[in-house]
């Protein structure tokens, strides 16, 4: 009762790639490689640093300091490539896994940890970074991004939005509705789907029987599949799509073909549903190794450079850890704040009653 699907670790021919897993540049008719050595080194740095933050967060979770963590391991290139394509004016809408994009938007990684530690549901100001809060209800942010893009149109601004979602999310009604809105209003929004092959335990075949980038054609806008482990290609493809959006050419769907190297979250046990061999095949396509190989082969960076980045990563990891542990628990009364902008008689009453209730304990203790 199942049908042929084109999933698989073998990159299908339509994949945009600029850098092979071996670190060789490849030509592509539509996308040019135009990065300087400094650009590449800076991308490399980002890739390494966000992987390090991620590793540290996994460790913190194992030690009980975070309730859960959704690792980006394997998806660094998709996130840094697309994240670096954004201008300051562009607005990004993440899922819960876009730690790399957050990094590109200047969000302090510790702020991400707040949510996973349970001290808040999202501790940064989206407007300050043009990086929206993490959204956990699968797919719902695609509509927010589309509406935001409609706002950009109304403002006549030179900007675009990008919205991140997973392969699993493509099945949600909201995501498809956002495709409709974006195409009907020709909104400046780039749909960036990280197809990491799995939605928790479900392989892509459970969401689609054809490659995901082709979904866009059914809604009348372009879709493109990019090697999600190739940071050069991700950057180039996203840049072009964002530029098209800013210029009034409407939405693009980008499918970044990648792989979730870790568990879905730290609560997950992937051995129950997937084979080690799949992981092995993808290890050969590591997004960081290929940039390193490129830099090495072309003698654009020496060991000292790599050591320096390593050291910086270690520092960053340490700092993230320390500041995570220092993160104070919120005050219980904090619960009642922020819910409404204006005074609210019911909440005021509940707050007062609860304050009294807590005070009762203190009296007892005293």
């Amino acid at each position: 009762m199942t049908v042929d699907a084109s999933r698989g670790a073998d990159a299908p021919p339509e994949l945009v790639q600029l850098l092979t897993p071996e670190g060789e540049l490849v030509e592509h008719p539509d996308y040019e490689f135009d990065l300087t050595a400094e650009d590449v080194k800076s991308l490399y740095r980002d890739l390494v640093l966000v992987r390090r933050v991620d590793l540290e967060a996994v460790a913190l979770q194992r030690q009980g300091e975070l309730g859960i963590w959704a690792s980006l391991l394997g998806q660094e290139a998709a996130q840094i490539g697309s994240g670096r394509a954004l201008t300051e004016q562009d607005m990004a809408f993440p899922t819960y896994r876009e730690h790399g994009v957050a990094w590109c938007r200047g969000v302090d990684p510790v702020k991400l940890l707040g949510l996973f530690r349970g001290v808040n549901h999202g501790g940064w100001d989206p407007a300050e970074h043009n990086f929206h809060l993490y959204t956990i209800v699968i797919g719902s942010q695609t509509l927010h991004a589309t509406g935001y893009a409609m706002g950009i149109q109304r403002d006549g601004a030179e900007a675009a939005t990008i919205v991140y979602f997973g392969d699993g999310a493509t099945s949600q009604g909201d995501v498809n509705e956002s495709f409709i809105w974006a195409s009907v209003f020709n909104a400046p929004v780039v749909f960036f789907c990280q197809n990491n092959q799995w939605a928790i335990s479900e392989p892509l075949e459970k969401q689609s029987r054809i490659p995901l980038y082709r979904r866009a054609s059914g809604f009348g806008f372009p879709g493109v599949r990019v090697d999600g482990n190739d940071v050069f290609a991700c950057l180039a493809v996203t840049k072009k799509a964002l530029q098209a959006a800013r210029e009034g050419q409407g939405p693009t769907l980008i499918e970044a073909f990648t792989y979730r190297m870790g568990a879905h979250t730290t609560s997950d046990d992937p051995t129950r549903y997937r084979l080690e061999t799949e992981l092995e095949a993808w290890k050969l396509k590591d997004p960081i190794e290929r940039v390193k190989a490129y830099l090495f082969k072309n003698e654009l960076a020496d060991q000292e450079f790599f050591d320096r980045i390593e050291a910086e990563a270690a520092e960053l990891g340490k700092s993230v850890r320390t500041r995570c542990l220092e993160m104070p628990d919120p005050d219980p009364m904090e619960m009642f704040e922020h819910v409404y902008a204006h005074p609210h008689v019911l909440l005021a009453e509940e707050r007062a009653q609860f304050a009294d209730y807590l005070a009762g304990f203190e009296e007892e203790v005293a």
Binding site: G122, H144, D174, A341
Partner: protein, 327 residues
């Protein structure tokens, strides 16, 4: 003063809000050229353009979801849900996003969005066109829920809702769309009663009758009828359903000692239960009888040839009033 139907009063309120603030948008199905199926948005697209009065694709989740995005960009969208029964495809965006995003952001985000819902029965419609889904939203923290019952309130409360930085679910009693009243279109909004206050619409001393939206008129009629039996009924138009204006309610019940709540929605697990529980707790020693509720039955809204039996009418309200005197 201008004589306006409730529907026209909302139209006028939208128009004034749009004139005063260029960030106010109207969006929904058929709100443009058609002016909405009830003509509530009549003429707005002509005057404010397609960018501010947006005919959307046919999907309620999309309407509310993109409105959230527009609000994040600084706009103040007023969404129309065509009929009460069609709000459910938007339930997820309303409950998990609209209501929770401000708190999620520790207040960094505010979502000044109004979701207008023509509600209630009594117009002889087919399924899904006569429902009263307010309790789904009053149970959702992060929203404000209000219901207007007359043209003046429709005009003022809608504008107040649009000015509010909190998301507001705004219920419009569709069977009262054609009721008329004098409305002062130049009124000073700041001087009007705030939209989170209830209003004593008829003074009385024997029993407090609480109603909102379409039931206010029925409650007032019931009060008149009760007077003939020598019973003085105080009628309160709740106006705000979340939060409740408990001060006004409790004052009245403490005075009368009896209380009836009427709404069209099914009684079971409806807003009336909350009101009864709260009134009982706050006025326990004043109550001569339990708070009684009259409303829809625990069935889906029936076919229209039965709706006169389903909807609490004057007789059923009076019956409940009478029963509070049996204690």
């Amino acid at each position: 003063m201008t004589q306006l139907t409730l529907a026209r009063a909302i139209n006028a309120g939208l128009r004034r809000a749009m004139e005063e603030d260029p960030k106010v948008l109207v969006m929904g199905e058929d709100v443009g050229k058609l002016g909405g199926v009830f003509r509530v948005t009549d003429g707005l697209q002509k005057d404010f353009g397609e960018d501010r009065v947006i005919d959307t694709p046919l999907a309620e989740s999309g309407i509310v979801g993109t409105a959230i995005g527009l609000a994040l960009r600084g706009f103040r969208p007023v969404c129309e849900i065509q009929f009460d029964g069609f709000v459910f495809p938007a339930a997820d965006q309303i409950i998990t996003q609209l209501a929770k995003m401000p708190m999620r952001s520790l207040g960094a985000i505010r979502l000044p969005i109004v979701v207008r819902i023509p509600c209630g029965g009594g117009i002889g419609a087919v399924e899904h066109h006569s429902e009263s889904p307010e309790a789904y939203f009053t149970h959702t923290a992060g929203l404000r829920v209000v219901a207007c019952a007359n043209p003046v309130d429709a005009y003022t409360m809608l504008q107040q809702a649009i000015r509010s930085d909190d998301p507001v679910i705004f219920f419009e009693p569709k069977r009262r769309y054609w009721e008329k009243a004098e409305v002062d279109l130049e009124m000073d909004l700041a001087a009007a009663m705030p939209f989170d206050r209830a209003s004593v619409v008829r003074q009385g001393s024997d029993v407090t009758l609480l109603a909102y939206g379409p039931m206010v008129k029925t409650a007032l009629e019931a009060a008149v009828a009760a007077e003939e039996d020598g019973r003085s009924v105080e009628v309160i138009d709740l106006r705000t359903l979340s939060p409740l204006d408990t001060a006004t309610i409790f004052d009245s019940v403490r005075k009368t000692g009896r209380c009836v709540v009427a709404h069209e929605a099914p009684v079971y697990s409806g807003l009336g239960g909350e009101i009864a529980a709260r009134v009982t707790e706050a006025c326990f020693y004043h109550l001569e009888a339990p708070v009684l509720r009259v409303g829809g039955f625990s069935t889906p809204y029936p076919p229209s040839r039965l709706e006169e039996h389903y909807l609490p009418d004057l007789d059923r309200v009076l019956d409940a009033v009478d029963r509070t005197f049996a204690y």
